[in-house]
């Protein structure tokens, strides 16, 4: 199966059958789009031994001749496909600046949310993406090296543990994947935020704000402005390939921060944050 995410095309092979039906639901018209075009990366699942095909079936995910993650039970393969796609891009695309961050866009203006795992950036991005914003990515800001604009990828958004219920309770009609329990990151589900047709209208957007989110249960909304150098440092810290890009990376980030405001967000109420973000675009 081919998944065309815009900038990157992936082929998935050897995955358990259920993964393909789940991926088809998540990615809709991006599945097997333009089959004549080459793919950028191939994700191959293989069995680990003949006996393991019978007893406690295990699969291992390979990119070419590299095993990229530890083997997993057959019924836990779905999140690995998503992580595998991220791994390929972060490991091999040095033609763009990649920042570990979600990206939301409105009125062609982008806000990026650089943050580590567990900050709630994906949940925030998903909730707002399902509520009027354009979710360009829940995982990686893809920054063009010449224009310093961010571009969208057509990917499902990743939710962990309680976030799955939170999003489901507010958007019961959204398209959710099945939940995979007991992965190394806990329970994982994916949700489709935009259709391919919507995604096709998402052009490059300039970054107007950089907000570092921190979800704290029960906390009052706090918005702390940061100065440009603090913001710059946050972007560098969360970048996958800033140092690989060397001077180009610096120049791109330099251009990006010129037009942006910077904030640290502490919140538990997504609506209040949403209202604040509206004021920036």
């Amino acid at each position: 199966m081919i998944i065309d995410t815009g900038h990157y095309r992936f082929r998935v092979s050897g995955a358990p059958e259920y993964c393909y039906s789940e991926l088809s639901r998540m990615y809709g018209d991006s599945v097997n789009l333009s089959p004549e075009k080459p793919v950028d990366f191939q994700l191959d699942f293989t069995s680990t031994s003949w006996l393991r095909t019978l007893v406690r079936p295990q699969r291992v995910l390979n990119v070419d001749n590299q095993r990229i993650f530890n083997p997993i039970a057959k019924d836990k393969c779905l999140p690995s496909i998503e992580w595998g796609m991220n791994w390929c891009v972060a490991s091999y695309d040095h033609t763009r600046l990649l920042i570990h961050s979600s990206v939301l866009v409105k009125n062609d203006k982008a806000i990026i949310f650089p943050a580590a795992q567990g900050s709630g950036k994906s949940t925030l991005a998903t909730l707002l993406g399902l509520n009027g914003w354009h979710l360009y990515s829940d995982e990686m800001a893809i920054v063009d090296l010449n224009s310093a604009t961010v571009s969208a990828v057509h990917r499902a958004s990743s939710l962990k543990n309680q976030s799955i219920k939170v999003v489901h309770s507010q958007f019961p009609n959204a398209v959710f994947s099945r939940t995979t329990e007991g992965t190394q990151k806990g329970a994982i589900a994916h949700v489709q935020v935009h259709s391919r047709a919507e995604f096709d209208h998402f052009g490059p957007a300039s970054v107007v704000a950089v907000a570092c989110p921190k979800y704290v249960g029960g906390a009052r909304t706090e918005i702390l402005p940061l100065n440009q150098s603090q913001g710059f440092a946050q972007l560098v810290r969360n970048s996958f390939n800033y140092s690989t890009l060397g001077e180009q990376g610096f120049e791109t980030l330099f251009k990006l921060v010129q037009g942006a405001e910077f904030f640290a967000l502490r919140y538990s109420n997504v609506n209040e944050i949403g209202d604040f973000l509206e004021t920036l675009v």
Partner: protein, 361 residues
């Protein structure tokens, strides 16, 4: 042997053939080259004008690999500078080997060549000082078991690897080029006699010894997963010799006791890259390899093929395993190898039944 794996060597020799590739051919080639760390090397073989004729898809992947390589090259220069200063300060005389050596010498194979570590050699009498200097300036010895540490110090030609946690560099500190346990050696004084200074004042092996070391590395290694790169190194270094110089090189290698390895390597180059030698060199190769020519085609060539699910065959896998065993064989005498093999094969047996990752899950 299926011919597909061999195609990689043709691509390197005549990269312009790629101007005619269909998108699917590009996809296949990119995957094989990238998996074998040869993509940036391949990219470096194009003229700028040719690159412009390629599809956006091909150009983007080549460009990405080149960017990664350029960063690494930059880092190598930086590390060499720091290490040279550090070691000189400790009264040591470092020689930069292999990848770092090719970069400093600007051998043609350095373009696009990725490396996983920096290799430095000092005289054995300077080893302790060099080690302390590294440990005192932020380098850490990689954690190895006591058994392995003892093995390294007693039997190996290098110390357990060092890592620099801030810069993310790995360093191998050698005191000679061959593990003493192999029973083969080149006198230290000969090694240091065959060094040269680069324009920036760093010490590397001269061309003959860069090639000799590269060949020794290929034949005294056990990991043949990415050996296609060694073949390309050998080719690019050997290419710099005139035919008389090549004869001198063969004679030198015979004096030093590595005539067989060198003849195997030169024959391998001829077999995979179609190099032609003068009559005199051909005669020497024929004589040296009489009765052993089959090993080049049946064992060594399949073992140095690029590795990829698209091109791996039963033959290449067997050859790589044979060379793996041989690599261990030459590094471990029987009294060590047998108990070692017994432990490892019990684990291998369990793995073959329960899957390779039984011990990890």
């Amino acid at each position: 042997m299926k011919s597909e794996a061999r195609a990689l060597f043709d691509w390197l020799l005549t990269p312009r053939q790629a101007l005619e590739w269909q998108p699917q051919e590009w996809e296949r080639a990119l995957r094989i080259l990238r998996a074998n760390d040869m993509l940036a090397t391949f990219a470096g073989l194009f003229e700028p004008g040719d690159l412009e004729q390629l599809s956006e898809y091909a150009r983007r992947h080549l460009h990405s690999a080149v960017t990664y390589y350029q960063r690494q090259k930059h880092q190598v220069h930086h590390e060499v500078e720091l290490l040279h200063e550090l070691m000189a300060g400790a009264g040591c005389h470092p020689v930069f080997l292999k990848g770092a050596g090719y970069v400093l010498a600007e051998d043609s194979n350095h373009r696009g060549r990725l490396m996983s570590d920096i290799d430095v050699m000092v005289d054995k009498s300077e080893l302790r000082r060099a080690e302390l200097a590294l440990l005192n300036s932020g380098w850490k010895a990689k954690e190895v078991t006591d058994y392995d540490d003892r093995y390294y110090r007693q039997w190996s030609h290098e110390l357990p690897p060092f890592v620099h946690p801030e810069r993310g560099t790995t360093l191998d500190l050698h005191h000679t080029v061959l593990p003493p346990i192999t029973g083969r050696r080149i006198e230290t004084v000969t090694l240091f006699d065959n060094t040269v200074q680069t324009d920036s004042g760093y010490t590397i092996f001269n061309l003959k010894f860069r090639l000799l070391h590269c060949i020794i590395h290929l034949f005294f290694n056990e990991d043949y997963e990415k050996a296609c790169r060694d073949v390309w190194d050998i080719h690019c270094l050997a290419e710099q010799f005139s035919q008389p110089e090549l004869m001198e090189f063969i004679a030198l290698s015979q004096q030093l006791g590595f005539g067989t390895e060198v003849c195997f390597a030169l024959r391998l180059r001829q077999y995979l890259l179609g190099t032609e030698y003068c009559d005199q060199a051909s005669e020497t190769l024929n004589r040296q390899l009489r009765g052993r020519e089959w090993m080049v085609k049946r064992v060594i060539a399949p073992a140095v093929m690029p590795t990829h699910p698209l091109v791996d065959t039963f033959g290449t896998r067997i050859a790589k395993s044979l060379m793996y065993l041989r690599g261990h064989w030459v590094k471990m005498p029987l009294r060590i190898l047998l108990p070692h093999a017994a432990t490892k094969s019990y684990r291998a047996l369990v793995s073959s039944v329960m899957g390779k990752y039984h011990y990890e899950s």
